[in-house]
Homo-oligomer: 334 residues x 2
DNA sequence: TTGAAAGCGCTAACAA
DNA sequence: TTGTTAGCGCTTTCAA
């Protein structure tokens, strides 16, 4: 593997000049610079990243720690981050914390060890391992969920408001016993969606009851179990607000197994506009979140903080959009 | 940020001893080792990754370059790679080449620059930028698609055989004019699935005609267009073999728009068992690929090659499984 | 505009 | 078992 010295020898200059030429410094004689570039190409020279990072005390890399790579919401978000980061020459390292505080913590350690320029993460619950980043002065931005401390950059969705709106929609459609299947306690989006659901009931002077609420992992299997439980009750729900699209899969499976037609016997609204939402029968009403945009905004925020760590913290809250489809329209109204 | 010298000073030993203690070398006095660990914890010491990589001439990192982060097939594969890599203390860096040879090439350069221990990639077509890896002696493994040169490790699926089987199934169900919507020319899986489709027709003494074949990106939008084209013909297909699940979404949309019932007027089989495949009406028949397993096998192969670059190249071919659901059962047979 | 030289933090060869 | 020391490849003063 050729080094900068090999290039220098071949071009007949010092390593300092090679470094300057290859990094586009203006203070290099054009002829020399050309000679250096030629030599580099001929040798197939690739700079040694770790050596550069060691010397510069920072790598042109940002870490993105998300809680589920298999969740389309997060992959869309990831693309947003990538697109912005690449524009300015940063690489993005994707890490999957699996909604697991230990894994998250481990990835934060790795990010610190690798001396990345910054970290974007969807914090998994209450663990404050993020404090380590703050202590070290590493730039970071929270996405999807805020951090316990308020003094950090964050890009969020007004998910409570969206849940309230979705609930109001179900009420307006004439559903009587509206239930909610949300994510684990302590995960902020899960709590907010539940709170918004309760807001919606309250605004319509409905009583909310824990008998119609279930929590599970943000996955199909848990939601499947939760739905079966709810449907087995003496007074089962006639509509459900579901906290993400993976859970919606579980709920739809449960309905199918029980032979219950979605939208007729049980109205449905789920968070996240999955590509297949229009394909199920009846088409699934959803709350569409601006996942890609969350990623781009977060990346820009991170870059700004990398450039100036003293800037005041910013929280950006984006809106979500309710898309009404047939799964939430009462039969007698059709 | 504390360095190894700070830890050494605090523990009253040399940096060499700190290094040995923290890396679990057996030749350190247990008492000293304990003192070192205490000092490290008290200081919140985190080793400097680039410095270590520079000295060791290799980072405990493998790069995974996939052609589409938003494709569940690749995210499942990624989890397989992750799980195996983490077991042995390697980090995984996920890169999204977007089916774009330039981006792929760029990521390969980055992988080389960062001196990763190895690369797993789904090669986007014919570009042989992979040769750079070979030249430098960096370990790599191809997944999903083989590389032009045969002398490298690869983990593949016998996708041609699977496509043939799926086509035979459609024929057995009584479909007459079976079409195929596959990925871009030059992408090996796309070509293989088409070849398998033709194999299937041939085995049944059917003529294959290009009028029933379309290609597009491996995305919903392209498949949507392709399906509309096929359905607009004088003699439209009465069944379709679709090369992945994102494309299946596009095709199902097209059928919906045209008011054509899948499985009745047009039989369907798609590659990849998406979580929603059972939820559409009628449930979608699929060719399930062992994505997670591809990832685990590839990771183990890569680790073996990192350990011994002289071992003979291995190609592992895994099977796919046809899951027959109602979308490929002729109405008169139900 | 260029070169010489120091040094980023770590590990490993060598010496004690 | 421990310490001393060289050096991985690069960037960046500092001096010329």
């Amino acid at each position: 593997m050729p080094t900068i010295s090999d290039v220098a020898a071949r071009a007949g200059v010092s390593t300092a000049t090679v470094s300057r030429a290859l990094n586009g410094k203006a203070t290099v004689d054009p002829d020399l610079a050309a000679r250096v570039r030629t030599a580099a190409t001929e040798l197939g020279y690739q700079p040694n990243g770790p050596a550069r990072a060691l010397r510069r005390q920072e790598a042109a890399v940002v870490a993105l720690i998300i809680s589920d790579v298999e969740n389309p919401f997060f992959t869309a978000l990831a693309r947003g981050v990538e697109d912005v980061a690449h524009e300015v020459g940063y690489s993005v390292v994707l890490c999957n914390s699996d909604e697991n505080a230990d894994k998250e913590n481990r990835y934060i350690d790795i990010a610190i060890q690798e001396r990345v320029a910054g970290v974007i993460l969807s914090p998994s619950g209450t663990a404050t391992s993020v404090a380590k980043l703050a202590n070290r002065g590493t730039a970071y931005v929270a996405v999807d969920r805020p951090l316990p401390e308020q003094d950090s950059d964050a890009v969020l969705v007004d998910t409570r408001q969206a849940a309230k709106q979705a609930t109001a929609h179900l009420i307006a459609q004439g559903y009587e016993r509206i239930g909610c299947i949300t994510g684990p306690a302590g995960v902020r989006t899960a709590d907010d969606r539940l709170a918004g659901y309760r807001d919606g009931l309250k605004a319509a002077k409905r009583r909310s009851t824990t008998r119609l609420v279930r929590r599970s992992e943000y996955k199909a299997a848990g939601a499947h179990r939760a739905a079966l439980e709810l449907l087995s009750q003496a007074e089962p729900p006639d509509a459900l607000l579901i906290a993400n699209s993976a859970m919606a899969v579980g709920v739809l499976q449960a309905l199918q197994e029980r032979g219950i037609r979605a939208g007729r016997e049980v109205g449905l609204v789920a968070f996240d506009d999955a590509p297949w939402a229009e394909l199920v029968d009846p088409p699934l009403s959803v709350v569409a979140q601006p996942a890609y945009e969350i990623g781009t905004v977060a990346a820009r925020l991170l870059l700004a903080r990398i450039a100036d760590n003293s800037r005041p913290p910013t929280t950006t809250t984006l809106g979500a959009r309710l898309i009404e489809r047939a799964s939430s329209v009462q039969l007698d109204r059709r």
